[in-house]
C-alpha cells in the first residue's frame, strides 16, 4: 500500500492533537473558562470529522482498487464469469476426478481380490498334495490325479496372474488424477492468496475507520463441535488436536476406556 505511511502520520497527527487538546481542555475547565473549553471541544470534533472524511475517501479508493484487482469489471459486475466462479468449477472438477479415480481403483481391487484369494487357496492345496508325493505317500492312482490337477492349476494360475497384473497396471494408471488435480488446486490456491491479500488491505482500511469512529465489533467465534470440521492441518503443532491414533487411544484411556 503506497498510502500507508501517510495514513499513519495522519492518524498519529490526530492522536497527538487529541492528547494536546485534552490537556488544554482540562486546564480550561479547571480554571473555569467554559467558553474556551467548548471551543476546544468543537475544534476537536471538527478535526475528528475531517480525519474521518479523509479516511473514508481513502477507503473508497482502496475498495475501488480492490474491486479492480479482483478483475471483476467495476462498471459491469460480470459474476457469471468471475475467477471465483471459475475456481469453484475447477474444484468441482477435482472432486469429480478424485471420486472417479477412487471408484475405479476400488472396482479393480474388488475385481482382483477373488483371484488372489483363489490362487492362495489352490496353491495351498497343491503344496499339500505335492508334500504327500515327496514323502512318497501317494498311490500311482492319486499321482495321476495330481498331475492332472497340477496341469489345470498351472494353466489357471497363468491366466489369473495375467488378470491380476493387468488390474494392477490399471490401478497404477488410475492414480494419474494426482497430477491433474494438483495443478488445478495450485492455481486455485494462488487465486485465494490474491483474494486474501486484497481483503486484508480492505480490512486494514476499514479498521482505521473503526478506530476513528470508536466502533467496536463483537467477534466471538462460533464454536459448535457437533458440526465437525474435517481433517485438521498441522495437527502436530496444535495442542487442541490429536495427531495420531495413539493420541486418541491415550486420551480415551485417560477417560477410562
Amino acid at each position: 500500500m503506497t498510502n500507508e505511511s501517510s495514513d499513519k502520520t495522519q492518524l498519529k497527527g490526530f492522536e497527538e492533537k487529541l492528547k494536546d487538546q485534552a490537556s488544554q481542555l482540562k486546564d480550561l475547565v479547571d480554571s473555569g473558562d467554559l467558553s474556551g473549553a467548548l471551543s476546544i471541544i468543537s475544534e476537536l470534533d471538527k478535526s475528528r470529522d475531517q480525519t474521518l472524511f479523509e479516511e473514508i475517501g481513502r477507503l473508497t479508493r482502496t475498495l475501488h482498487e480492490a474491486i479492480q484487482n479482483f478483475r471483476v469489471g467495476s462498471d459491469e459486475l460480470d459474476l457469471d464469469n468471475s475467477e471465483i466462479n471459475d475456481a469453484s468449477d475447477r474444484l468441482a472438477y477435482v472432486v469429480e476426478m478424485t471420486n472417479k479415480a477412487a471408484n475405479k481403483t476400488l472396482d479393480l481391487v474388488e475385481d482382483t481380490m477373488p483371484y488372489a484369494a483363489k490362487i492362495k487357496l489352490e496353491a495351498k492345496q497343491m503344496a499339500k498334495e505335492w508334500g504327500r508325493l515327496q514323502r512318497k505317500e501317494m498311490t500311482p492312482e492319486e499321482f495321476r490325479d495330481l498331475s492332472v490337477s497340477m496341469a489345470d492349476f498351472l494353466g489357471k494360475l497363468s491366466n489369473d496372474s495375467e488378470k491380476v497384473h493387468a488390474n494392477l497396471s490399471d490401478i497404477l494408471l488410475a492414480q494419474d488424477f494426482q497430477d491433474l488435480t494438483g495443478q488445478v488446486i495450485n492455481r486455485v490456491m494462488s487465486l485465494v492468496k490474491e483474494v486474501e491479500d486484497n481483503l486484508v488491505d480492505l480490512v486494514r482500511m476499514a479498521g482505521k475507520v473503526d478506530q476513528m469512529t470508536g466502533i467496536t465489533h463483537d467477534l466471538e467465534k462460533e464454536n459448535d463441535i457437533t458440526k465437525g470440521e474435517g481433517p485438521q492441518m498441522n495437527a502436530d503443532a496444535r495442542k487442541d488436536v490429536v495427531s495420531s491414533q495413539d493420541d486418541v487411544d491415550d486420551l480415551l484411556s485417560s477417560l477410562g476406556f
Partner: protein, 128 residues
C-alpha cells in the same frame, strides 16, 4: 464375536463406505449395509436389524455425533455398539464422543490393522 452380525456403515462419501465395507469383508464381516448420513441411518437402525454401527462424524443432514446421541437416547438401541471412524481430531470432540457413549474412535486416515484392533476390543469388552 459373531462374524454374521449385521453392520451399518454410515459415511457421506461413497468411496469411504466402499473402503470400510471391503475392510470389514476382509475381517470376515460380509453382512453390511450403507447409509449416507444420520437421517437415513436412524430409521434403518430403528428396524432393530443391526448389531453394530460404524459411523463418520462430519456429514450433511444429521452428523455422526447426533446419530450417536439419538441411538443412546432410544430405549431399543441404547446398547448398540458404535465405532466412530472420522477425520475429526480435536480433543474436545473425542471427549464429547466418549461422553455421548461411543465404544471406539478411529481417526482417518486409518489402517486395516487399527480398524481390526478397535472392533475386536469393542466386542471383547461386550462379550466379557
Amino acid at each position: 464375536m459373531n462374524k454374521d452380525m449385521k453392520i451399518l456403515v454410515v459415511d457421506d462419501f461413497s468411496t469411504m463406505r466402499r473402503i470400510i465395507k471391503n475392510l470389514l469383508r476382509d475381517l470376515g464381516f460380509s453382512n453390511t449395509d450403507e447409509a449416507d448420513d444420520g437421517n437415513s441411518a436412524l430409521p434403518m437402525l430403528q428396524t432393530g436389524k443391526y448389531d453394530f454401527l460404524v459411523t463418520d462424524w462430519n456429514m450433511p443432514g444429521m452428523t455422526g455425533i447426533e446419530l450417536l446421541q439419538h441411538v443412546r437416547a432410544d430405549e431399543n438401541l441404547k446398547s448398540l455398539p458404535v465405532l466412530m471412524v472420522t477425520a475429526e481430531a480435536k480433543r474436545d470432540q473425542i471427549v464429547a464422543a466418549a461422553q455421548a457413549g461411543v465404544n471406539g474412535y478411529v481417526v482417518k486416515p486409518f489402517t486395516a490393522a487399527v480398524l481390526k484392533e478397535k472392533i475386536e476390543k469393542i466386542f471383547e469388552r461386550i462379550d466379557s
